[in-house]
């Protein structure tokens, strides 16, 4: 199956710093999502981004599908950004009749210190 590698595995920042998280995948994808798991364990959907660029406040994401990677940018980081960031992909062409089957990377643990 498709392989998903995230880097770095751990990242420690001071509040206000910027960061870039990377997701590499081993096959072409039709679905790519970024999630944030907060320190209480809740998983939040950040972006659905199989290609192109999207922005939502201080967060933005870019996927270069032809080169098989995606980047998540966090600007002016805040302590509430702490947690684990997951990239998840689907390589087959998902169908509306069957939903999507995601493969997750192991995540990047982000710690933002005040």
């Amino acid at each position: 199956g498709i392989q998903v590698e995230q880097s770095p595995p751990d990242l420690i920042l001071q509040e206000g710093a910027n960061s870039t998280l990377r997701c590499n995948f081993s096959d072409s994808v039709n679905n790519l999502q970024w999630f944030h798991q907060n320190p209480w364990g809740q998983l939040i959907n950040l972006f659905y981004i199989p290609s192109g660029t999207k922005q939502n406040g201080r967060l933005s994401a870019t996927t270069v599908a032809t080169e098989r990677y995606s980047l998540l940018y966090i600007s002016s980081s805040q302590t509430t950004d702490s947690g684990v960031y997951f990239c998840a992909v689907e390589s087959r062409r998902g169908q509306e009749t069957s939903g999507s089957r995601l493969t997750f990377g192991e995540g990047t643990q982000l710690t933002v210190n005040p």
């Binding site: 199956g1 998903v4 679905n31 999502q33 999630f35 364990g41 809740q42 998983l43 939040i44 959907n45 659905y48 997951f86 998840a88 689907e90 998902g94 509306e96 009749t97 069957s98 939903g99 999507s100 089957r101 995601l102 493969t103 997750f104 990377g105 192991e106 995540g107």
Partner: protein, 112 residues
Amino acid sequence: DAGITQSPRHKVTETGTPVTLRCHQTENHRYMYWYRQDPGHGLRLIHYSYGVKDTDKGEVSDGYSVSRSKTEDFLLTLESATSSQTSVYFCATGGLLWVEQFFGPGTRLTVL
């Protein structure tokens, strides 16, 4: 976020006992998923459903079964729990934009 609840939120059980976890959603989403989260593995798909009574296996389905008798409920059953099934279990749903998934709060299961 979709209105997704999971019950119980925590459970400790013994090897060999049956366990059922429940996922309940109030958003009328068609798709529902069960994942497990373990250190070093991220999240892995166990089973999923694309409609009432329509289910299929995911990546790590051995030892698990599911049922979906109505849109709002998706049950995950461990017929005979083993210590290797100690994990955090997440339910997710997918709605109108069917490729996106939204997660419940998780259930921490410990099998002794």
